[in-house]
Subunit: 94 residues, 2 copies
DNA sequence: TTGATATGCAAGCAGCGGCTTGCCTACCAT
DNA sequence: ATGGTAGGCAAGCCGCTGCTTGCATATCAA
């Protein structure tokens, strides 16, 4: 079980959430190519896979397996742990 | 300059923000004793000082020096970088 | 079945981060 | 000036983390 705060403490993982937020339900290879295209990321497939594992363990990404493909969906729910911890931050947003 | 996400990726630093959120304008020694009392933290003064340095570098803590004392104030402003990055999280909060 | 596609597991390495230790500077009271 | 208080600087250690590499598993097409 990974902390939401730790999961977000990595620019690559945040970029993955960006990409999933823009186009949900991508597969691992799709995410790899998207990251390479849009941000010049030159990471291995395994690196991205491990990042996705962290995000999934933190509940920020939910997966669905069909055949030999695994689709990843962005789940913003756990982000409430951040905004809910320091109520004054909510005030400053509204 | 430290990232907001990295600054939050540490339970001690989050506890410091909790304490400052509860009672603002504390000094380093006050924060040390508060953490020790309320959470059983047995960290050195330097450790807390370094944590405060990270929080200040991330803009989450603002300081004011008077005499030989330095007062720390919680600034929730940078938290908007988190809630503002993935708009769907805002929706799920309201 | 054979080959190609899509993903998973595990070991190993390098770098960073948190913590301690030791010493130093600045301010205040007596 | 002296002693005590509040904080800062820097080096060093250790554990964790991100990344690679190599191999293995599972699914689909021909």
């Amino acid at each position: 079980m990974v902390d939401v705060f730790r999961a977000l403490d990595d620019e690559t993982r945040r970029l993955i959430l960006d990409d999933l937020s823009a186009r949900d339900g991508q597969t691992l290879f799709e995410i790899c190519t998207t990251l390479a295209m849009r941000h010049g990321l030159t990471l291995t497939r395994q690196a991205i896979s491990q990042h996705l594992g962290v995000l999934e363990s933190a509940g920020l990404v939910v997966t669905e397996r069909r055949g030999r493909s695994k689709f990843h969906y962005f789940n913003p729910g756990p982000l409430a742990q951040i905004t809910g911890r320091w109520p004054s931050s909510k005030r400053s947003e509204q």
